[in-house]
Point group: C3
Chain length 139, copies 3
């Protein structure tokens, strides 16, 4: 059985880490499927998905610092000189983090750890409304 839905996620961009665990868990709990996998996919090329312990230190500071080492905001990007844009670092960070995440569930519950939340990281340089496709395959 396959059920596809989508989440709309409002973000402030600029590396904001948004905890989407509750709405994803609600989709799983309400789908009528006991066991399976939910595939999450963020539409667009300047955001990514992963898991983290969602607490202010990691979400607001430590993850950003790592991405700043990988692709500095004030660095020089061909993407920006070509398109007169300002989000070269956003694209690079999103490609590295990746757009998809697959989380198994059993007895209607995601198999997350206690301190492990599903997050969308929006690297774009402005506020965005993000679509996360949520597709359940199960039985």
């Amino acid at each position: 059985m396959i059920k596809t839905s989508q989440l709309q996620v409002q973000t402030r961009g600029n590396g904001q880490v948004v905890n989407i665990t509750d709405p994803v868990a609600a989709i799983v709990a309400d789908c009528g499927v006991r066991a399976g996998v939910i595939t999450l996919f963020t539409v667009g090329s300047t955001a990514g998905l992963t898991t983290t312990e969602y607490e202010p230190g990691l979400a607001n500071h430590d993850l950003k610092a790592a991405f700043e080492r990988i692709a500095p905001e004030e660095g020089s990007y061909e993407h920006e000189s070509t398109w007169h844009d300002d989000n070269g670092h956003s694209h690079v960070r999103a490609s590295l983090l990746g757009p998809s995440l697959s989380v198994p569930f059993v007895e209607g519950c995601l198999t997350l750890g206690t301190w492990q939340q599903i997050v969308l990281v929006d690297f774009d340089t402005r506020a965005r409304t993000r679509i996360v496709v949520c597709q359940i395959i199960g039985e």
Copy 2:
């Protein structure tokens, strides 16, 4: 319903970013399955998969610069001293990017954004023929 196929992708290696969106979309369009997920998996340990806006600035310059920060080509690698090889950085980059990508599709279309393409990044130090396993699960 499960259908497994594979793509052969010719690359020049050395961090080449290859846009494989069209052949992946064709597999999805032709499979006779309306909704589901396509799991892509690159065989081998010196290439990875992700999505990006496929344009020359990002593909030919900006992504490479980030991977050069993470694992410099001219860095010192135990892999190279052990095996008298030259692709330590290729392995490290591929492990970080990851070999698998899961993309949902609905009504026969991948749920990609307009400026979001599926790419294989070949980090090896020579031209390669890559196999990407493409497995559809759907109904």
Copy 3:
């Protein structure tokens, strides 16, 4: 058909790279499903999954060096000052590597390359017993 099991993996933490290919391959071989995908998901927010050529140079040195560039062990982390903890770098590294991996299998065999192994990387600062959820969807 969906079958969910789990692996227990003993680690020493501190970036240890553990080869879990054999137990994963055994789950696939024994499940009675010919073709499908195995979704692997590591429970907890200080470990991740990927593939690599599992040899001592990469596993014990080169991967660690790259993660040290991204999130230095001796760096300053808000997570640590908030929680009086010592594993800020572990969280950041785990989020970047990602907790999930999807590997197709055909005729009961994982579609891995010859020199491509499935690994769990435990970034925590102490020995851990890790749970990896292994969920097969196939026919």
